[in-house]
């Protein structure tokens, strides 16, 4: 009797652990499946012409150069705005802010900003940057919108990176007569740099894939040329994928997969860069 109970306990342990492994496999398989599908179906469309020509016939033929360039501009514009603010806010929260209700309020605001749906950032950008500030449906308005969305991330990563700098460094700097700001600039920030850059690169990767905000703020459906100034309209990869997949009838499937592949390459290469920076920084710290 007792033996039987022990066997069944062992068996239920086996089954349960099997289910846990199964769940993990269930998470991994779709990821690999999606990546492989995109590579297999998309690589056929990739050609020199596809990457260097503007689209023609409403996206059915030609290339996607304006969308690639537009996305790169957008990433750049987003990070130029969001990174300095993120770093300054990170400095404020770690070096200057006291532990009081105001700081808690700021932290709560950051936490909530991270959870605001992307479409709402789109409405915000439309109301504030496109209409109220009259930037129109431009690269500038879209960058500002995406920067607002990236803010939560750049602040959080900067704050974590600065917090990780040991206290002794600051004290040593203050002890030789440096002011607080000199300490931050010459001691704390250089130490925190890998962490800050990792966050910035991740924020850029996310900005590259965002579609809903630029859909609302008004990315262009088709443009023959490249944007010449921040006030110009622009094309972007994710929006282009949306239009060719959901709006234009008769686009060859290979073209859609090709756009998806290029977008994934842009997004994931930035992810990989972030991972490499993080690993290298960790190795340097441990030696």
């Amino acid at each position: 009797m007792r033996r039987k109970i022990r066997v069944s306990r062992k068996l239920s342990q086996r089954i349960a652990l099997g289910i846990l492994i199964l769940a993990t496999i269930l998470v991994i398989i779709p990821v690999l499946f999606i990546i492989i599908q995109i590579i297999v179906n998309g690589s056929g469309a990739i050609s020199w012409e596809f990457l260097t020509q503007p689209p023609s016939d409403a996206g059915r033929a030609g290339g996607i150069l304006p969308a690639i360039i537009g996305t790169l501009y957008l990433m750049l514009g987003t990070i130029i705005i969001a990174l300095p603010i993120g770093v300054l806010a990170g400095i404020y929260l770690t070096e200057y802010a006291r532990d009081n209700w105001l700081t808690r309020l700021i932290n709560m605001a950051i936490m909530n900003l991270a959870g605001v749906p992307s479409i709402i950032y789109g409405l915000f950008g439309l109301g504030v940057f496109v209409l109220a500030m009259n930037f129109g449906m431009s690269l500038l308005a879209a960058s500002l919108t995406l920067a607002c969305q990236a803010l939560a991330m750049t602040i959080t990563t900067s704050r974590e990176a600065i917090l990780a700098v040991p206290r002794d460094y600051r004290e040593a700097s203050l002890a030789i007569g440096a002011t607080k700001l000199q300490t931050v600039r010459h001691v704390v920030l250089p130490q925190a740099r890998p962490g800050i850059i990792t966050g910035a690169v991740l924020a850029m990767s996310r900005a590259a894939g965002e579609t809903a905000p630029i859909l609302v703020v008004g990315a262009a459906f088709l443009l023959p040329g490249l944007p010449q100034s921040p006030f110009d309209q622009f094309m972007a990869l994710p929006y282009h994928l949306y239009t060719v997949a959901a709006h234009v009838p008769g686009v060859p499937e290979a073209t859609m997969w090709g756009v998806a592949l290029v977008l994934m390459v842009v997004v994931l290469s930035f992810n990989i860069v972030a991972t490499v920076i993080r690993l290298r920084a960790r190795r340097r710290r441990s030696t």
Partner: protein
């Protein structure tokens, strides 16, 4: 005479330089302070804008009709704005997503935290991070190309673009956050708890089930809330694969239009300040309040979890 004046001049110069440096420092510190407050400014800006643009629609459509009306005809004469089809759709899509992502995600987290050897853990985690990095538009595209034909033939439906399809894609998108937050919660459970359980003769599974998961329950709850928040707020995926029908959906296998998709698909045609524009901002306000509530609850629960094991 000259000897005594020249050091004073240098001193004056030094003092001026120092003062200038102080002024510059104060200036930069002003910017630091300003940046610190910007998060509050943006959040408040969002709230104010949504109120200012959205609330006037209630002058035309009373809140009762707006929230419980089932007819959304923004361009007919007179227009009617009832948003019930949208939040019912959001409910279905979120339900499907949560029903899949929670058991799978928590089980995966339990495996990674309690069972998996470090080597497997180090391989699986980047793959899950990879999933978090896939843009929502690509998820929508995959749903459109690969999942919707499958759903259509499996359930014998007139179209594969349904709430179910969207929910399945959304479950993939909320999995990374559910797994990582749950895993953090499980890892925060002190080892003494597990050892005490083993010492009583419990097996590994019994320990996970009766000790680890109950101890980490508040963290896991927060993970679920964050996953729900993700599913409610996702836009592109549901816009592409949920089907976009305007009737109130009675089952997840119907085509439907969740709130985010309603905003995204309507905003391009809405005239600034017009009734439809206001109605869409009012949907945005409703959506914001929903996700805000979910996030605040998740944050509270996480705080409590942190305090529980912090000593």
């Amino acid at each position: 005479m000259e000897h005594s004046t020249s050091p004073t001049a240098a001193q004056v110069l030094g003092k001026n330089l120092r003062r200038r440096w102080r002024v510059r420092e104060k200036f930069i510190e002003g910017w630091i302070l300003l940046a610190g407050f910007l998060a509050i400014v943006v959040l408040l800006g969002i709230v104010i804008l949504l109120f200012k643009e959205g609330v006037p629609v209630f002058l035309h459509t009373p809140p009762w009709e707006f929230f419980f009306g089932t007819k959304w005809y923004p361009v007919s004469e007179p227009p009617t704005f009832g948003i019930a089809p949208f939040y019912v759709a959001t409910f279905w899509v979120t339900l499907v997503s949560t029903a899949i992502a929670v058991p799978v995600g928590v089980a995966c987290a339990a495996y990674l935290s309690e069972v998996a050897p470090p080597k497997i853990r180090e391989t699986v985690k980047p793959i899950i991070e990879l999933l978090a990095g896939v843009p929502s538009i690509v998820m929508g595209f995959i749903g459109l190309m690969l999942l919707s034909p499958l759903i259509q033939s499996m359930f014998n439906l007139p179209t594969g673009l349904t709430g179910l399809t969207a929910g399945i894609m959304l479950s993939l998108m909320s999995l990374p956050i559910i797994v990582s937050v749950s895993e953090d919660a499980l890892r925060a459970v002190p080892n003494e708890y597990r050892e005490a359980s083993y010492a009583l003769g419990a097996t590994k599974w019994e320990t996970i089930k009766h000790v680890c998961i109950p101890s980490a329950l508040s963290g896991i709850t927060a993970a679920i809330m964050l996953g729900v928040g993700r599913a409610i707020g996702e836009t592109m995926t549901v816009l592409m694969v949920a089907g976009g029908a305007l009737a109130v959906p009675v089952s997840p296998t119907e085509p439907m239009m969740p709130m985010t998709a309603a905003i995204a698909s309507g905003i391009g045609n809405a005239v600034q300040g017009g009734l439809q524009y206001q109605a869409l901002f009012a949907i945005g306000l409703t959506l914001f309040i929903m996700t805000f509530t979910v996030n605040v609850i998740a944050d509270r629960v996480l705080e409590r979890q942190k305090r529980k094991f912090a000593r």
